[in-house]
């Protein structure tokens, strides 16, 4: 078990180190996140709609697009350089590789969420409610589910000649539960509603995340085997 965890940690470390040194994905994701917020500013007539009422939906769509952009490249870099062969033939079990990619993607998307929250606060003065701990919990659980699905499918789209064009078509149908319950939960937190009103959505998000992680861990080996 400890060996397994060490192997997973080694891949996570490699991925994050690459990200720190090149900043490739993070830069693109961060830029997109801010730009989407800018576009929303011009796309929505703020004389007609109070932006605060749309806050949860706007932030989630931004996270989804920003996250997808970066996660679509989860396996691209390794395929371009042929490193994927080394990774797949290494003694690390295939599910370990999947979990490592989930962890490193989770870190990236969490950073993007901080950027998104900051950008929307700066541009629109959004009020994020008075329970930051609960907000972090909901975002964390929902993000893990989002990342679990997207990581699996980025391994699929990387092996097609449509590449990242295919990714949203594959993942959006499966991510609808994250959007439904994520937006409901965060919307209520933003409105400073009592915890009881958030619990239901949080449990459903947790259930989705567990199913997505389990399915991803089991099915990943069939996607990447040579």
């Amino acid at each position: 078990m400890t060996v397994y965890l060490r192997q997973v940690a080694a891949i996570v470390r490699k991925d994050l180190l690459l990200e720190v040194r090149t900043g490739e994905r993070l830069a693109a994701m961060g830029a997109l996140t801010v730009l989407v917020a800018v576009l929303f500013h011009f796309a929505i007539d703020q004389g007609l709609v109070r932006m605060q009422l749309l806050a949860a939906g706007l932030i989630w769509m931004t996270i989804l697009f920003g996250g997808m952009l970066g996660m679509g490249r989860t396996f691209e870099m390794e395929r371009e350089q042929g490193a994927i062969q080394g990774l797949l033939t290494s003694p690390v079990p295939l599910d370990g590789i999947y979990l490592a990619k989930v962890v490193s993607n989770f870190v990236l998307v969490t950073l993007i969420e901080v950027v998104a929250l900051a950008a929307y606060w700066l541009f629109f003065g959004f009020n994020y409610g008075n329970d930051p701990l609960l907000l972090a919990g909901v975002l964390g659980v929902a993000t893990l589910g989002f990342v679990a699905v997207t990581t699996l499918f980025s391994a699929i789209s990387a092996q097609t000649n449509m590449g990242q064009t295919l990714l949203p078509i594959l993942i959006f149908p499966l991510l609808v539960p994250v959007v439904i319950f994520g937006v409901t939960a965060t919307g209520r937190i933003f409105a400073s509603r009592p915890v009881q009103e958030v619990e239901g959505s949080l449990y459903l998000l947790a259930a989705f995340t567990v199913v997505a992680l389990t399915a991803g861990t089991i099915l990943f080996r069939y996607v990447v085997e040579e």
Partner: protein
């Protein structure tokens, strides 16, 4: 199964299915009683429910054959999964067009975002992805495996769709045939018409299924024959 046998089965099932659909339409237009509150629009039901049934049956077959393919790696399982998925996509399109036609009158709106409609639409899109992945995979074998993975994931939605009507209060009618507590709640003539619809659509589906399966069989034979030579366009 030999190719000749597959073709023969497809033909027989097809003839029976088309005959069944003709009978169904005669029953729907001239025989079955008109429902009291919805009037003649309710007759769309006899096309909508059978196509929905076939869609779920087809995607169920795709998922089972896909899962079995991942396990056993028998090419025939992949042919079956692919053939069923194509049928499911077609009958799903019938379901997703006949439903709104009925709902526009019965509910006053062609579409609502209640769980069953939403999940069914999403499941249909998952299987659109199924074919996109197959078609664009750089490696054919990998394409088959990846499609099987998507088929399994898409089928996870099927039980959700079924229970969504029971769990969540919604506009979509409750089951009138598979109703655990009260048994079938349809009038006898409506039940007969519906059953003939279910039978006819199922026969047509399996006819298309076997035709498609036979085509994959043929392609496989051809590939074996031309192995070693440059592949024909």
């Amino acid at each position: 199964m030999s190719l000749a046998r597959i073709r023969w089965m497809a033909t027989v099932l097809g003839v029976l299915g088309v005959a069944g659909v003709l009978v169904l339409h005669w029953l729907v237009f001239f025989w079955v009683g008109t429902e009291r509150t919805m009037g003649i629009v309710q007759r769309i039901f006899y096309v909508h429910v059978p196509s929905a049934w076939v869609t779920f049956l087809a995607f169920g077959i795709t998922a089972l054959c896909g899962a079995a393919y991942l396990w056993l790696r028998d090419e025939r399982l992949d042919w079956a999964a692919q053939s069923a998925a194509e049928g499911g996509l077609i009958f799903g399109a019938i379901m997703l067009t006949s439903g709104p036609l009925w709902a526009a009158y019965a509910w006053g709106t062609p579409w609502t975002w209640e769980p069953r409609l939403t999940l069914t639409l999403l499941m249909w899109f998952v299987f659109v992805g199924y074919f996109l992945v197959r078609a664009s995979a750089e490696d054919r074998q990998a394409g088959k495996r990846m499609a099987a993975v998507i088929g399994v994931l898409g089928a996870l939605l099927i039980p959700l769709v079924h229970v969504s009507v029971l769990w969540f209060p919604s506009l979509h009618p409750q089951p009138v045939v598979l109703n655990v507590e009260e048994g079938p709640t349809l009038d006898a003539d409506m039940l007969v018409t519906l059953m003939i619809g279910l039978l006819a659509f199922t026969l047509i589906f399996f006819s298309v299924f076997f035709l498609r399966y036979g085509l994959e069989h043929l392609r496989y034979q051809r590939a074996l024959e031309t192995r070693g030579q440059p592949r024909a366009a």
